[in-house]
Symmetry: C2
Subunit: 382 residues, 2 copies
């Protein structure tokens, strides 16, 4: 699945028939943007990015595009989750039209998950669909949101409730740019890396337990962890592009995570997505343990690893109030995966043994959340 | 292709693999909405309609849904082209979320092209795609916009520049509701009916020349004209769902039409879409004649038929100023079909002999428009 090139560049293919594409992972791959856009036949490329990323990485990308003879136009949005809104979607679309992005041209999303989701969605709906290159600059975006074609924006009642499936034509995951992330951001993205081990790869989880410090430090272990994560996601997406079955496994921890993010109104100072996922993973294991599906010891092992890297694992780790179990249940009921009023949970029978459950009575989930919320507040690193 | 049932109900199939669906055409088919939604497995149905249509047709549709045991929620938008906006898309999406429309549920678009395009687009992006029933209530929507899966909204720089391909799961074209249209609205929709004859069906055009008064009067000739139009469109869409080839033929007259609508800022008091199409069809024939592709006599025959039913055929038929040739060329350059900066025109070698042209120098189009704009203003029915 994964091809290691001499210069540490790793290429992960995503097999989706005539929507297949490659994920290029390695130090400095952003410099390939211009040649890649040219190879795809684009004349005009709009680079959508946020103010923070623009200051760090926009100039070399623009230079690469211009060196390849491409007309490149930057579209800069504010950083933060609140940018995934109808208002910013409209602004980005207006920018793409002003840049005369036509069918055959490209949108290049340069940034984290927010930029990737917003710019990818704009590409999906501009002229009923133009192509996109995802150039993720956060660990979370490199291992999750840039791969698989999910795009979208948030609404007041839930995250990502408006969007499209729109596969990129290429993903450029430059591992060098991760050095500009804060430790908190890198850690948050790491929660999604752990997720792939928990879904169906016990061995990868154990490798992460042993090597997480090298992954955080950078170099070959980091590239390998990202490539392994992308290959896991690509494999699941190839089997089920439109989430009618197995793709839902990728939502391990996410039904809880989305509700928690909703509960703090997507306030990134209190909780970023990866942190919500870390708590969600811990909750998925503890909920499964409470249902007798997995041993408490195995749930503890997952929680221990997440805490070892400094991630939160309890609702009470979130600063401030998040509301009661009824509020969280209501937020979970708005999840996209709701079918005929039934909640879908991804549960586990062990580390690397997740499954989709659609028959858990809501009362069980509510009782579990009530018990979690009643726990004494632990200190963050006790 | 077309199956005539004893009770005057006509069913036109649209063959698109696992996205195939039926168009049911005939008097009273709206009463089938409830049974149809139930057969599709929906629990909740949001009926998106506008204030005008709501007063005429909403109640029986709601009654039909409720009689079938469906939770039905109406979402009512203002009438008119300006409703195809980001602001109303956001409102409709909020309404769909409030109505708890989940995957498996349905959006029912009850109205003309504006409601169909807006509600269809909202369905396309809600939770990354829920199913839709199109229940077109204008002639234009019945023969064109409700069939083929194009959805979208307008932007200040052009019509339908933001949208999705999202095939409906069913189209219910109730021919009775057309009796509530104004003569102007019916006539405008008729321009799209004529278009199908001009694209590739000389015989249908000649049938319309002989029978147009019966089509306007209602009854079997009307149902037959609608069914024939839907079958023509379905055939082309089945060959080329995403408009990479032949589907562009459906845009005969539309590159000019969209520019003219842009030039009047979508002011429906001055020009409705079907009228713009009528002028666009006439311009396509006259432009083809100016290029020596078709005889002036054949162009005159098309113009004569359009004028006989009371449709406009010249830019000067539009009340007020529309700007000069440069302005119209700039508006045409924003057309979605622009590729690598080249305008695509649908031209004709005869009635029923249209073809896609991508190699017309812009200067020829501009000269043609300058000549058209310089014509002495004819009275509307001279």
């Amino acid at each position: 699945m994964t091809v290691f090139a001499p210069d540490d560049l790793t290429v992960v293919p995503v097999s989706l028939g005539d929507r297949s594409y490659e994920i290029k992972i390695g130090p400095g791959v952003l410099a390939e943007a211009g040649d890649a856009a040219k190879a795809l036949g684009a004349r005009n490329v709009a680079v959508v990015t946020d103010q923070t990323v623009a200051g760090l990485h926009l100039e070399p990308v623009m230079a690469s595009l211009e060196a390849a003879g491409i007309n490149a136009a930057p579209i800069i949005v504010p950083p933060g989750e609140s940018t995934k809104s109808f208002a910013h979607l409209e602004k980005v679309c207006a920018g793409l039209l002003a840049a005369r992005i036509e069918r055959g041209d490209l949108v290049l999303a340069l940034g984290g998950g927010v930029v990737g989701d917003l710019a990818g969605f704009a590409a999906a709906v501009l002229r009923r669909g133009v192509r996109a290159i995802q150039a993720p600059t956060s660990l979370l975006a490199q291992v999750d949101s840039s791969v698989g074609g999910k795009t979208g924006i948030n609404t007041p009642v839930g995250k990502n409730l408006i969007g499209s499936f729109h596969q990129p034509s290429l993903v450029l995951a430059d591992t060098d740019v991760l050095d500009t992330l804060s430790p908190r951001e890198f850690r948050a993205g790491y929660a999604e890396v752990v997720k792939y081990g928990l879904i169906d790869d016990t061995e990868f989880f154990m490798w992460l337990e042993r090597n997480w410090q090298d992954v955080f430090a950078g170099g070959a272990a980091r590239t390998r962890a990202i490539a392994k994560s992308c290959a896991s996601k690509a494999s699941i997406v190839s089997r089920d592009e439109f989430e009618t079955g197995d793709r839902a496994l990728l939502n391990l921890g996410h039904t809880f995570a989305h509700a928690l993010e909703g509960a703090v109104a997507y306030d990134g100072t209190r909780l970023v997505h990866g942190e919500a996922v870390a708590i969600g993973l811990a909750l998925a294991f503890r909920f499964s343990a409470s249902l007798g599906l997995v041993s408490q010891a195995e749930a503890d092992r997952v929680v221990d690893h997440l805490r070892a890297v400094g991630l939160p694992t309890r609702i009470s780790d979130i600063p401030g109030e998040v509301g009661n179990a009824d509020r969280l249940m209501d937020l979970m009921a708005q999840d996209k995966k709701v079918k005929a009023g039934r909640l879908t949970f991804i549960l586990v029978r062990g580390i690397g043994r997740s499954f989709i459950s659609t028959d858990i009575p809501p009362q069980n989930a509510k009782s579990f959340l009530e018990a979690e919320l009643a726990e004494p507040v632990p200190s963050f690193d006790d």
